[in-house]
Amino acid sequence: MESLAEIFRNPAVLALIAAGLPLLTFLELTLFGKRATGTAAALSYSWLSFLVAVYVFFSVWNTGDIHYQVNWFTIGSVSFKAGMLLNNLSVLMQLLVSLIALLVHCYSAAYMKNDPNLRRYWAYLGLFCFAMMTLVIADNLLLVYFAWELVGVSSYLLIGFWTTREAAAQAAKKAFIVNRIGDIGFLTAILILYTQFHTLDLDHLFGGRHLFAGSVITGGQWITSVGQLPAVWLTVAGAGLLLGAMAKSAQFPLHIWLPDAMEGPTPVSSLIHAATMVAAGVFLLVRVFPVFTPVVLEAMAVIGGLTAFFAATCALVQYDLKRILAWSTVSQLGLMILAVGTGARAQAIFHLATHAFFKCLLFLCAGAVIHAVQHQIHQDGGDRDPQDIRNMGGLLKKMPVTGAWMILAAAALTGLPLTSGFFSKDGILIAVFAWSANGSSLGLLLPFLAFTSSLMTAFYSARLIFSVFFGEEQVSAAGVRDPEPLMRWPMIVLGLCTLYPVFLGLLPAGASWVLDVTEKAGVADHPDLYWIPYALTIANVLVIAAAWQLYVKRRAHAAPALRPAGLFLLEGWRLNAVYHSLVISPVMQLSRVTVFVDRVVLDGFVHFAAASGLVAARLSGWFDRVVIDGLVEFTATGSRSIGNFARKFQSGRIQHYLIFALGALLLCLILSYFT
């Protein structure tokens, strides 16, 4: 029997506590009391959660897997267990999530302080952190699915946080429904894996017991120790998980919810729709990597590459500050998925980690800018859009801290040397080039997509920075200034984390401690491909110079109308319209058909049956009344008439009787005479 102290020394239990603390925020603020804003509770639980996560990280990193589980429920004779599976990947993710969550909590305390529904905000944020931190440590797919959906709900609640905004409500609904498409894939994969292995335990499937590695494909059949399925279902399982990841990580063509999700408060965009939740898809793919067959991996790489390219083109022309960042997120997630597809899992997670910091920072800076500009517009009494970069310009002098840090973050996003993005993105590019060089049927398509999207990244990042912070002021910016310290210092912490040294390891160039995430220091090095970082850096500098020409010297935004191609990109390749005409309208049409079937066909039949019953009843009623009653009445009236007739003979007069008797006698005589 473990003593209580031992249980609490178990890192797995501590990891659960780290995940559970934010849930306390949620429960406390939703169930008890109504007065306080909840800021104190939210911040303290967030701090505690972070500290516990730090402790867990240092006690688990590079020490091997820790698996702790308890019985959850038994169905028939199969028992489902629930527990935590800690390894480098999960503790890194938990640390990342709790750190960014903490910073965003602090930032929000200032950013949201005047919101009348602050309490609800903290509660939802707590629910999200709980779900996300459970997701990364869950030890079986059912539990992962629990957390996966819970993440989706908290995202729904936070996107639609300003409930009175119609657009926010629409965006929240869209996000959840699109994610549900992915969930169907995830669920299907769960069905398949459960049928094949009778367990959903990640450790049993992919770790210690090697259930998955022990399965073989022979003669078109996928055979495991307890089950057998046609081999195609292995591909379906992989495709299902990929679909799930595509929805959550906003991959083409399921990315459409993410740009709309910017309707939520900016700190939410920062935490959920840039740094953590959207990375859950990438995380899932890495966690269940052995499931993927070569076909699925190739599809994954293509989808990732396409998404990276496509989203980057859309980011080039956006005017809304947050939408630029949203498209950029889609593009960067595409790169990560591409990396996983080429087998470069460690590089994908490395980029996930660095991206979390600099993208979070970009959003927080954007929030500060929007906050300030909105305040200014409000004071001036205008109705200009505070998120439109055409209404900004020259803000660097007014908000030097925000400007400096945002430039730093944009440099990391671009992947300029000395920033974390330089190594993580180049790691992916090198991996993709190496993969392609090993002979891929796709030739140089994917390296090309990755390389060009990196260049476009440099362009839109530069365009953003130049339009907002350089050039001339577009609106009077007299009152625009850096945000208060509570918002400023989370930005500073994040800024430090976008510098490369944080991720530096003791290993040779191009390596980082984060790469230990999948296999210890086992990431292949490709010195022959070192030309890529140099080439990319030079190209990036040229692109940035071009952007300087366009947006600082000429203010190219001033162009009266975008050309059609630009509009096409602005609207995200018009995929919303495609969805509307290919999916939504047909489904609604179909639903109207079913209503018709219900109202007219089925009820019609029922009414017909009822009407036939009535007709039959009327007929039998008529038959009763006319024929049967007719007969009865005929009998009755007949006998009555006969009676009446016969009664006439009963006159009571003796003369009549004598005449009748005589007549009868005569009649008898006549009859006997003739017979």
């Binding site: 038994t74 028939g76 009175t164 119609e166 409500a169 609904k173 969930d183 219900d598 029922v606």
Partner: protein
Amino acid sequence: MGILSLLILLPLVVGAVMLLVPGKWASSFKYLALGTAAAQVVLSLFAYAGFNEKVAGTGVNGYQFVEQASWIRLDLGAAGRLSIDYFIGVDGISILFLVLSAIVFFVAALASWEITKNLKGYFVLFMLLDAAIFGVFTALDFFLFYLFYELMLLPVYFLIGMWGGVRREYAAIKFFLYTLFGSVFMLLVILGLYFSVQDPVTGDHTFNMLHAMDPANYTAGSLFSPGSGQLLFGIPARLLAFIVVFIAFAIKVPVVPLHTWLPDAHVEAPTPVSIILAGLLLKVGGYGIIRVAYSIFPEAALQSSWWVGLIGVVSILYGALNALAQRDLKRLIAYSSVSHMGFVLLGIASVTVEGISGAILQMISHGILSVMLFFLAGVLYTRVHDREIANFRGLSLILPRYTAFVLIAFFASLGLPGFSAFIGEAFSLIGAFKSASENALLPRWMAVCGSVGILLSAAYFLWTLQRMFFGQTRLMGGDAWRDRLTDLDLRERSALVPLAALAIVLGIFPHLAFDKLNASVLNLVNHLIP
């Protein structure tokens, strides 16, 4: 007297008392009904706690709290002796339905506050319905079962027809005829079974359902004897009997295309009757399919499972599509019921432990959640007498508590993990998918198609949320409505809180249900596929 008899008799006695006391006291009947329901909750929880899940056996040994007494004995001379027993008991499946019934009646009693006219008649019928439902879930003698089954029909007919909405008579007749259509033919099957089954001890013909489940008890060469292979209208007699019984219960579930009574009945029924209808009457259908159709005619059931599964999938998708196009909140919930009960059919048709356990949990869960949904729809209707979705907008601003409960009920119903419906749906689907590998009854695409239902349910529930609850407040009835739309009061909250809590508890600790179920479900699957 056993605890089960107590559960059945209590409402009957209370109903009789109500019938006898003067009508001027009728205003206090609601408290009496609530007290009765509360007592039933306590009793059923005692039964639940006392039910020993470790006792597993076949036949009558699988049942607990068994009470058996001879009821009718009639010497028919050459035709043998007519024997009908008062025979009740529960296994792991029915014990859960008992607890559900008690809770649903408790909530329905709380919802009965909205009834204002002819209270005496209403509450007497309410009590009669209560007793009948407890009877159905416990009866083990077919005659007794049928008696309770028909006894349910009568009060519901009058409760809809007299206390319902504008088209109440149409709805009541439709409900009555649909259900009667099913049960009349079932009566013939019951009689056929009676003449085919013999009590192994006395040798008499018997209505004992447990005897009917054992092929050894059939008289050789009788109509429904598994070995005799008799034909009726060119169809094997047992297959025909299965189909007849299945249809009788499928109408109750309801399945597509036998469901069109449901939306009308729900829309016209007063809130408490909607609650009982969705929470319990539909479950009688699913329970009957498991207990009667599948258990008594296993080989015919296996033969038909493909079709049963198909009906399940069609119901899931068709119900969900219909829900998507509804404009009336109550109709939307009614169609969502059709969709959610489709999972039950799919799970049962899989004849796997996962599928059947999932189906039963889905029924319990739907019992809780549909009650919550109809209660919530009723809250709105009693305030402004309108349920048209388009007539409301931005309700979250003026009714924050109400919105919170709607959020919980909607998300729970759309199968969010953490709520009971997810466990039910997921395991129904797991069972359906596994079936192809385990017993080759259902093709795998059925499970995959069924999972599309969870996407559609998200669509119609979230769309409704967005349209009615978010955005700026705008009401069809203007300020008059705004005055009448007050947030939930204590009575309403005390009905909703336990339901929400139960949905969460069962979603996170499904073993509370599965532990009771496991032995019985394993028995059942072994019985169906020996």
